[in-house]
């Protein structure tokens, strides 16, 4: 399905991950599919506000400054922007959804996102200062929630994880907070796997440690 070569990218979607390292038992969890509709709605509203404001400015400006023919040029540009906005609103969210994933293994939270600018953020559980559960107006109507992990870092101190089912999000938060201070105990939040095997596997991969 993907057109990129797997080893040249931070692979995000579940299928790609399985392709790259089938040995890793923890697959990435995807977000709830409803998040696509939510993003479309949010993006649509943002675009609508922006475009309607520009439209008003263009119209009023043309009348006040008596721009004449320039009005039609501006209007054409506006229509172009409208088309781009519509395409982006419809086409981008599924793509973003495909490249968003998370997993919690070995007491490390990993969140991946981004279509053009890809990021994989790894947060060790013991470094978490606090966890926010955020639910916007539309998020609530879709039954979704966003978890935000805060660390004491200077530049990358907060990591949002959007598109979780509300119940799952609060359960996950409670589970993680419960585990914050008991850190010798191995964790398995999403998938009940054997963390010891994972650890050994990981150290075999990462031989850099002196």
């Amino acid at each position: 399905m993907t057109e990129k070569m797997p080893e040249t990218t931070i692979t995000a979607s579940v299928s790609e991950e399985a392709l790259v390292s089938g040995a890793t038992p923890e697959a990435f969890s995807t977000l709830e599919p409803e998040v696509i509709a939510l993003w479309r709605l949010n993006g649509g509203i943002e675009w609508a506000i922006l475009l309607s404001m520009t439209f008003v400015i263009i119209t009023v400006g043309s009348i006040v400054l008596s721009l004449g023919m320039w009005f039609w040029a501006l209007l054409a540009a506006w229509v172009l922007a409208l088309v781009v906005a519509m395409v982006q609103t419809i086409w981008y969210p599924p793509l973003a959804y495909r490249y968003s994933a998370y997993r919690i293994t070995d007491r490390i939270i990993e969140v991946r996102h981004g279509v053009w600018f890809r990021e994989s953020r790894l947060i060790p559980l013991s470094r978490i200062q606090h966890i926010d559960l955020r639910q916007g107006l539309f998020e609530r109507s879709y039954g979704l929630a966003t978890l935000v992990f805060h660390t004491a870092g200077m530049h990358e101190s907060s990591t949002p994880l959007p598109g979780l089912a509300a119940g799952k999000a609060s359960a996950l938060r409670d589970q993680l907070i419960g585990q914050l201070h008991r850190w010798q105990v191995p964790v398995s939040v999403v998938q009940p796997d054997t963390p010891e095997a994972v650890n050994r596997d990981a150290t075999a991969n990462g031989d850099a440690t002196a």
Partner: protein, 505 residues
Amino acid sequence: MSTEAAYRLPLAGRLHPWTLVFGLFAVARQMLIPLLYWVFSGFSVFGTLLVLTFGIPNLLLVVARYWTFRYRVEQGELVVEQGILRRQERHIPLANIQEIRLEQNLIQRQLGVARADIETSTGGGVEASLALLSVHDIARLRRCVFEHRGEGAPDGGTPRSEAPAVAEVPLVRLGWPELLIAGLTSNGIFTLFLILGALLRFAEEWLPEAGRRALLRGIEATVRALGGQSTAMMLATLFLSITFLVLLSVAASGVMAVVRFYDFQLTEQGTALRRTYGLLTRHISSLSPARIQLLAIEQTPLRRLFGWASLRVDVAGVAYERQEEQQGRGVLVPLIRPAAAEALLSRFMPGCVMAPGAWRKVSPLAVRRGILRRSVWPVGLTAAALWWWSWPYGLWPLLVGLPVIGLVSWLDYRARAYLPGARYWFVRQGWAGHAVYAVPVNNIQAVVVAQTPFDLRLGLATLILDTAGQTPVIIRDLPVAEACALGQQVARQVEGTSGRQAAGF
């Protein structure tokens, strides 16, 4: 033994009476213009009224502040009370206090008083400022605070009965010749701006209106005179004045370094590092090594040429208000040989040793990316030149620029490397100036592996190690698989260390 007894007592006190005098001076400084008016108007009634209406409330404030300010140590907390109408009582848990910093200017040094700034790890910078206390009181407070730190229980008086005499092991001591070199080799242009800023502030605050106007007129006249000259003359004048300014700023930065870091001493007292420096304002601050987020051995191009470096430290939870202050505070050693700095690393952070052979390079594709990224300018220039001149002559920016860019990109690639260790990661970078960062794995808060569209195409990625310090640790142009593996590895390392304790959070 009497000091011993006093020290075991619950500590409580108020500001030193000299606070009133210094407060009076501060008020006088604020009131300079009304006071001047009062004097020059021949002590007129209006002037007197002006001084009284503005001066009396300020003076009352100073007195009230002195009167209401109290501090005490009780039940593992430092309590600072202040305020007249709105009483404020701030409780600072002793365990959270990272540092009690002492600052005193020339007069204060003679009088034996100082300002004590209390810093915590919460990130707000100075949590409470006790100005002024006697030096003796600060020492008592310091002992009281850091005594609690060691055992956790305040009654452990006996094991540290010799605490006041904890041996200070000198690590680095710099005389004025070294400080002068440090100043001369620091980036001079920056100092120029500092001086200009200071001059501007001086002009705004102190210069009377007539003086300011005369200054402006002078500048205007000079610009006019310059405009009247021939082009060559104008260029020569400009060049000469810029050279003069640069030389001036280099000299000034030399003097400034000597003044700021005069009699610089870095000592090790127990586990804490203690810096003492300053000619006019004397600074004494101690730093707990656990608070170190990152150590940087940095070289400006000039320092690199002469084989010098400076040692800088990033500290958790301090947001500096002034750039100048940040510079002074972050500097652990203003001037040191790189080899000596590397040797000191293990002193500051146990087990922090760089294995010289173990450096790992980034991907060679970095050279290509560097060339592409830096080519934007010469390509733009070439386009402009082609438009300006005819076909073959317009190519010169590209012909000159490309070899230079290639060389720079290659040097940049060669300078960049990283060394993943079990407890410390090292990253080095910089083709003109150079920097080596040592990051304790303990203090890494988050790891980010990022890819831009360019990275996607070339199969590269950027690894970012985020600490609570100001310097971002970024390793660019790693092969993506390696970056992912390293990210996973460092995250596991972080989770495996007892970071909370070590970072002091």
